[in-house]
Symmetry: C2
Subunit: 296 residues, 2 copies
């Protein structure tokens, strides 16, 4: 297991906004540091939960740079760098490498629909070739319910054959444990990371590498406990209790739109109202929704 | 009818690429000029057919600037400027205005799914407010099969009430004539433009403003003839014949992936092989597909 990279619990970190709806960099860095202190192995910033696609290329670069400048080890940072236009994916990926951040999480180009497997392979290959840096490690980002472009095993196989050592893992956010198990079995040494919190425990039992999840913004310590102790029979009751807390928190956050809910819950927990803001088309919870959520 | 703006036949222009898959600006300008010479009222560059979302912000700006510098009147240019991140939509829209191009076609932010009507309204409102330029005219871009974010009439109504004079029309690419008719009736003075070539004629008969279509790259003269003569009973046979040619060409281009097919057909027509290239994840037709298409 330890040979898998990346391995562990990675938080799909939320991004706080100022009153002008700009990324609030100091508050973000503080949050990332807190998540690591709570036991996260790293921060998967600039993912769907982090509202990455609501930010410009320059804003994304400023968020990653702030994390590095804030003292978080580059090896603990897994930024999302995949956007629709290949030149911008290349710019973001090169910027990460320039900061010593070698592992990135890459969405497929997500505008066109019905993309062929050859086209998907060609898009990832074009990015790797244009980046042209042997340090690059890519975690594929499979979230078809949002990207509308699934990443099938056949494409993973071709990418790993064409670029040995580059495609090291996948964040599987489709919620289908059977697909994750299939990937674990088919690709030894390939890190399969659950994108949904409740699946960390079952996936670890099947040889998975860990998770990259949204609820981790609120339950990082429990996820870390599960990750480190799932195989210890003497701790099975504690592991199950941690798992139950994770599932309960996730269910709480799913009653209203998830990202707005997580932000409202984190605002309550930290006392910082900047967490409640989202950039359109996403919106904050209404006062009534927030009251119902937080009363739960 | 003539009070509608924009009114007429606009070509959703294809974008030629160099061997390095960069936009081929001189060939693009030549094509745009040819389309206007063939009767197009304007060029709706940087839309889905133009592979806009495969290009970076800087590349999009270079394509629009080349068209203006190439002598095409700014009032004839309708660039797509809507991307996922609001700051980049604002940058692209301001750049258009800086060139004297006041009407832009704006996709909704297309990454998040299940966006609320309030969120969609807020996203467009945020763009208009950040642009902060009274010259701005926006044509909404309704293409839910690609953007996954439909633009309902209720949102159009709110945007037109909040920003009088700004939201002047819609490109309806969903292919549902009934929706277009509803919009014509509900919003007097609002330009409803068909996004599918076969619908130009039926939409004009219902009070539509024209079309913004892909097949126009190949049949601009026929579309212009339909637009200018659809109401003339003495020309009904010629109008129907033009319509039949448009439909036949569109059907020909629909057997294989549409954009690759249109590019292959334009390469044959112009003798310039640069037209056959697409940027991944879109791919050129295979030699066999191309042969089958062009033999038709």
């Amino acid at each position: 297991m330890s040979s898998l990279h990346p391995t562990g619990v990675f938080s799909a970190a939320l991004t706080p906004l100022t009153a002008d709806l700009e990324p609030d960099l100091p508050v973000f860095v503080e949050h990332a540091q807190r998540l690591i202190a709570q036991g996260c192995d790293g921060i998967a910033l600039l993912g769907t939960t982090g509202e990455a696609n609501s930010f410009s290329t320059a804003e994304r670069q400023s968020i990653l740079a702030a994390a590095v400048e804030g003292g978080i080890e580059p090896s603990r940072l897994l930024p999302g760098t995949g956007v629709v236009a290949i030149p911008e994916t290349v710019t973001l990926t090169r910027h990460a490498l320039s900061l010593g951040v070698n592992t990135v999480i890459m969405l497929p180009p997500f505008y066109y629909k019905g993309v062929s497997e050859d086209g998907l392979f060609a898009a990832y290959a074009e990015v790797v070739e244009r980046v042209g840096d042997d340090r690059l490690r890519v975690v594929l980002y499979h979230i078809p319910q949002m990207s509308a472009v699934p990443i099938p095993a056949s494409v993973i196989e071709r990418l790993r054959a064409r670029f040995p050592g580059t495609f090291t893992g996948i964040k599987d956010s489709a919620g289908d444990l059977a697909n994750m198990e299939m990937l674990v079995e088919r690709f030894p040494g390939f890190a399969v990371l659950a994108g949904a919190d409740p699946l960390l425990l079952p996936l670890m039992r099947k040889g998975g590498a860990g998770c990259i999840t949204a609820t981790s913004n609120l339950v990082a310590a429990d996820l870390a406990f599960i990750f480190h102790n799932f195989a210890d029979p003497l701790k099975s009751a504690e592991v199950e209790a941690a798992q139950a807390r994770v599932v309960a928190k996730r269910n709480q956050a799913s009653r209203f739109p998830q990202m707005a809910s997580l932000k409202a819950m984190l605002a309550k927990e930290t006392g910082h109202q900047g967490w409640t803001r989202l950039r359109p088309p996403l919106l904050s919870l209404t006062a009534e929704e927030s009251a119902q959520l937080l009363a739960a």
